[in-house]
């Protein structure tokens, strides 16, 4: 038995990674757990120049979940390469997936070009789904035509395989998955956060300065599982599933729904060791069912609702 998975030609030693924005580049978490146990680390979104993000408060807890409106604060790609990629050199067995953000197509491409020759970057994840920035971001991720177009441009520039990160804030996720595949994406990842809102009724204010924020955590898991299932049964490129994964049981659900790998996000806040525990749980599950490879976890069925493309 082994836990290896192959995403667009890149082999991960196990199917568990950390979700973008919840783990930084691992530097802070390294004091509390071993990032080297992960299949991959997905970094916080990186832009061509430093972004200040949104004003505070940026965080609001909700029942079994949370809203965030960080607004993609990041130090810019130059600092990221010098500091974060350098730090990640000490985990040669863990793949590095750099999450890329931008306001315009040019801004995305600047980052993609800048990372092209960085050997520590194994894969790129293009965030066209952030609900917390007004221009760009989500705009690309809510229209299949623009999603396909930006996928094509990124693919023309990228030297690493490209994962397109999809937004759940759409009517039909299958359309968006198809658009990414036709644009040439090597894989897709979903879901990003679901747009939400909360009021502080005693202070009579919006809980978040940005008013809206992205909902994540166990509260969104059933929605995420459904969308991962629909996407995985629509395209033939690998799907990375996420949204509310807190335990290995949650992760196994996503793998059953057809994901090739999973990302753990908000759960890191609840337990810094959540991701490595999930790796061990998946191992135990496979042993129990006598499975040789992770892909056997997927539920195979005939006549599924959406069918393969």
């Amino acid at each position: 038995m082994n836990l290896e998975v192959n995403i667009a030609g890149v082999v991960l030693k196990n199917p568990v990674m950390t979700a973008s924005g919840t783990f930084g580049s691992g530097m802070e978490y390294a004091e509390l757990m071993d990032p080297g146990l992960l299949g991959a680390i997905v970094t916080k979104g990186v832009a061509s120049v430093p972004w200040p993000g949104n004003p505070g408060p940026r965080i609001a807890e909700t029942a079994s979940g949370m809203l965030n409106a960080i607004g993609l604060q990041n130090p810019g790609v130059d600092t990221f390469v010098k500091r974060d990629l350098k730090f990640l050199e000490q985990y040669p067995d863990t793949r590095v997936i750099v999450n890329v953000c931008g306001h315009t197509e040019e801004e995305y491409l600047e980052v993609v070009d800048r990372l092209a020759d960085e050997e520590r970057v194994d894969l790129l994840e293009i965030n066209i789904s952030c609900p917390n920035v007004r221009e760009g971001g989500l705009a690309f991720g809510q229209n299949p035509k623009t999603a396909e177009a930006i996928t094509k441009s990124v693919k023309r520039h990228a030297k690493q395989p490209v994962i397109m990160k999809l937004s759940p804030n759409v009517t039909d996720i299958r359309e968006m998955a198809r658009a990414a595949e036709s644009g040439g994406a090597d894989a897709i990842s979903l879901i990003n956060t679901i747009t939400g809102m909360k009021f502080d009724i005693m202070r009579r204010k919006f809980a978040l300065a940005n008013r809206t924020g992205g909902l994540s955590g166990p509260a969104i898991k059933p929605v995420a599982v459904r969308m991962v299932y629909e996407a995985a049964h629509t395209v033939s490129i690998p799907v990375i599933g996420m949204g509310g994964i807190q335990t290995w049981q949650d992760a196994v659900e996503f793998l059953m729904a057809g994901a090739s790998a999973v990302s753990v996000g908000t759960a890191n806040f609840h337990d810094p060791e959540a991701a490595p525990k999930i790796v061990e749980g998946i191992r135990g599950y496979m042993e129990r069912f006598g499975m040789e490879s992770v892909s056997e976890i997927a539920l195979t069925e005939s006549g599924s609702a959406s069918g393969a493309s």
């Binding site: 004091e31 430093p50 505070g56 609001a60 807890e61 079994s64 806040f269 609840h270």
Partner: protein
């Protein structure tokens, strides 16, 4: 170094007005903790995902004990208040950067509301001449403990004890002066202290609060605006959980 531990609750007692005091035993955290640092406390109820930041009120390094004093503000702190001696609670710490302890002339240590607790350990450890100024709504708490450390001046909103009004009123009424202010409390109080310190050419160290998710510097959820470009973020933002919670008042904009 930060540690995640299952701390043992040694005692839990009410200090009145929804304020509770809890002593914990930890294996590592107490030994390395400094005044002004905080712990992340995890709830047992899984629907409350995010850890609650609570400042260290007393640090007993020798016996590996920590005291937390907290007000019931919602469901999480209500859950903590229900824990009994012998129970366990998952905590992460020590977190953040506390108050600088180098002697810097005469000190005014100023607390308001639920900002009082972290100043007890500071009052104990800060060298040099110091005066404590604590502002309460009506009833005081931690008063006896504070008096043991330094002269204590009190303000109450209803005038039931000390100066009627807030801590600034108490400072003026008692003609208190100093070289450095150390403060924790509500934002309006911190704002007033910042301008008071500017007026009188004093240095002010203030402990800030912001909503947190990771508590360790990774999520960028807890930032406040900074005067200068921060070395970590490369923008005008500093993390309350990492660079803070204690800041030079001149360096943060609020």
């Amino acid at each position: 170094m930060k540690y995640k531990e299952e701390a043992e609750i040694l005692s839990q007692e009410s200090l009145g007005e929804d304020i509770f005091s809890m002593w914990l035993r930890t294996e590592h955290i107490a030994k390395e903790a400094e005044p002004g640092q905080f712990l992340s406390l995890y709830c047992r109820d899984e629907s409350r995902l995010l850890p609650r930041p609570i400042s260290l009120c007393e640090i007993d390094r020798e016996n590996c004990r920590l005291r937390l004093v907290y007000r019931i503000a919602g469901a999480g702190t209500r859950e903590f208040a229900g824990l009994q001696a012998g129970d366990r609670i998952t905590v992460l710490g020590p977190l953040g950067h506390g108050f600088p302890l180098a002697e810097s002339g005469r000190a005014l240590i100023v607390g308001g509301g639920i900002g009082v607790p972290p100043l007890l350990q500071l009052a104990r450890e800060l060298p040099g001449e110091k005066t404590l100024v604590m502002g309460y709504r009506s009833r005081t708490y931690l008063e006896q403990e504070l008096r043991k450390e330094a002269p204590l001046v009190i303000s109450t909103e209803d005038g039931s004890l000390g100066t009627k009004g807030n801590v600034i009123d108490a400072i003026r009424e008692n003609h208190l002066t100093a070289d450095t202010i150390y403060a924790c409390g509500p934002l309006p109080m911190l704002r007033a202290l910042k301008s008071f310190a500017q007026e009188h050419h004093m240095k002010a160290w203030i402990s800030m609060e912001e909503k947190m998710a990771c508590g360790i510097g990774a999520c960028l959820g807890c930032v406040v605006t900074s005067r200068d470009i921060d070395d970590h973020s490369k923008v005008r933002n500093v993390r309350v959980c990492a660079e803070g919670p204690v800041f030079d008042a001149e360096e943060v904009i609020f």
